[in-house]
């Protein structure tokens, strides 16, 4: 079973067992990982599930689509090259490492 590792802004890491096909956002919300809000439930309309994806996974997780790219301009914490909305990050067979930004709202 793959795991998602969420690094919090203070450096602490929360590891959560995940199911392939689930999103990084849904996995965080279901397991009470703080800092990932996901208020729109994954409908790409709130920009509150922003994460920074670890360099090692960027290729396997693809690039933001047009709608996601637009919403990434709306995030509370600064957008970086590694920024993604975690509702659009679908977990495969391998582990995923992401960093939670300091602010979502």
């Amino acid at each position: 079973m793959p795991k998602v590792f969420y690094t919090q802004p203070d450096g602490t890491v929360v590891a959560v067992a995940a199911s392939p096909g689930d999103s990084v956002m849904a996995t965080a919300v279901r397991n009470g990982v703080s800092g990932v809000v996901g208020q729109c439930g994954g409908s790409l309309s709130c920009a509150t599930c922003h994460v920074y994806v670890d360099e090692a996974h960027r290729d396997e997780l693809g690039t933001p689509g047009e709608d996601e790219d637009e919403m990434l301009d709306c995030t509370a914490s600064d957008r970086e090259d590694s920024s993604r909305l975690s509702c659009q990050l679908i977990i495969g067979e391998g582990d995923v490492h992401v960093t939670v930004p300091p602010e979502q709202l």
């Binding site: 439930g41 309309s45 919403m71 301009d73 709306c74 509370a76």
Partner: protein
């Protein structure tokens, strides 16, 4: 041990008993079928997880309410102009409209507005202090702050703020105006917004009306008929609710001395969690009786859907009671406690999913600023009388909150 009543809805009881009843109801069933005063029967959800499942499921829609095919099952008759707004649209049209507005009230935009909110909150406190050592915190603080922010967001010129405030306030429960006056004010507000849209189309500035008015020049095309309801929804939803939330937050802290003492140790640091707790705990903290009932705008099932073991049949209406889900005892075991440090706070007061509150980032920011600035400037503030509540209005707002410092 006495059996706890699990009837829903239920008449006002003490906050402790209401919390106990909500817990018992949620333990008993995920939802109750309620006959509404308007529009017939509707399911009302009591459990957080069932609510999230429904709110995140595209098989629940609102279009039949907007077209008039179905009467909105609710406690009051839904006004026509509210049924023509974004909240009654379904994708894909909803998605297009929502994105346009969302950009102007996104977390990033709201962060940029925070400094002006802090400055305005402090100017309101300056005025209160200049007048003496007492104030009605509803009219002197909790209402003007969101109105000012809304004017700035929409692009209402400073010279028009006073009349805009007068028209917009007429829709408020606290205004206590006659129906004729409300209708007259609303008509003037409509005309004003129509003219503002036309002005900003000719002379755009960096504001929401300008971006909506000129969206037609890009891929998105918006007509005046589409912009007007969006602007009106923002006016109606944009400050009445926020003002109520701010007042509830202030009153809750003032009525929980231990929590207030804690808050005063770090107002800026604790404002975000105190805000979430205010949104969740709502009226439970005010030391007044709490009734079991209330709900966000309903949806209609487009097919048979099972939620948390309960079949919701095609064509049935369904809504969530955020007061119930916030006290379901399942998502939050110690829900009766008002705890401003609570980190895991799954409140649904601003809803969830496709129709979650468009202004949520703005409302949150205004609440955080309002709480932090007031208590930083006036840490010794205290209530001089019991909060006055308008029980005749659907949202039962606090209409007067007298305080001294």
């Amino acid at each position: 041990m006495n059996q706890i009543a699990t009837d829903y809805p239920f008449a006002p009881v003490s906050a402790a008993e209401a919390a106990e009843r909500y817990r018992a109801i949620a333990a008993d069933r995920p939802m109750t079928k309620v006959t509404m005063p308007f529009g017939g029967d509707a399911w009302v959800i009591h459990r957080t997880e069932a609510a999230r499942a429904m709110l995140g499921d595209p098989r629940f829609v609102r279009e039949p309410f907007r077209t008039g095919e179905r009467v909105v099952p609710y406690f009051v008759e839904f006004p026509e102009f509210l049924r023509q707004t974004l909240q009654f649209e379904d994708p894909p049209h909803h998605t297009k409209l929502r994105r346009l507005v969302q950009k102007a009230i996104s977390p990033k935009q709201v962060r940029a507005m925070r400094d002006s909110a802090v400055a305005y909150a402090n100017s309101l406190i300056d005025e209160m202090v200049a007048k003496g050592d007492t104030a009605d915190l509803v009219h002197d603080y909790a209402l003007p702050l969101p109105i000012q922010m809304l004017c700035n967001l929409l692009g209402v010129p400073p010279e028009d703020h006073d009349k805009f405030e007068k028209w917009a306030s007429s829709t408020l429960a606290v205004a206590g105006m006659s129906e004729d006056d409300v209708v007259a004010n609303m008509a003037e507000l409509y005309m004003y917004v129509v003219e503002l849209i036309q002005l900003r189309r000719r002379e755009p500035l960096d504001d929401l009306i300008s971006s909506l008015a000129n969206a037609r020049d890009k891929d998105d095309t918006l007509t005046d008929e589409e912009i007007l309801p969006i602007a009106m929804l923002l006016v109606v939803a944009g400050f009445d609710n926020t003002a109520n939330f701010i007042t509830t937050g202030i009153a809750s802290l003032l009525q929980h001395p231990a929590q207030l003492e804690l808050f005063l140790t770090d107002p800026d640091g604790l404002a975000p969690t105190a805000t979430e707790e205010t949104l969740r705990h709502g009226r439970f903290s005010l030391g007044i009786p709490v009734a079991g009932g209330g709900a966000l705008v309903p949806f209609v099932a487009t097919e048979d859907v099972e939620i948390d073991g309960q079949l919701v049949a095609e064509g049935e209406a369904i809504m969530i009671d955020p007061g119930a889900t916030a006290h379901d005892g399942i998502a939050l075991p110690d829900a009766e406690r008002f705890d401003i440090t609570r980190q895991n706070n799954p409140q649904l007061t601003l809803s969830y999913g496709l129709h979650h509150c468009l202004g949520a980032p703005l409302a949150r920011m205004e609440m955080q600023v309002a709480l932090a600035e007031l208590f930083k400037r006036l840490p010794q503030i205290r209530l001089t009388s019991t909060p006055v509540i308008n029980h005749d209005h659907l949202s039962q707002p606090i209409t007067r909150l007298d305080a001294t410092w």
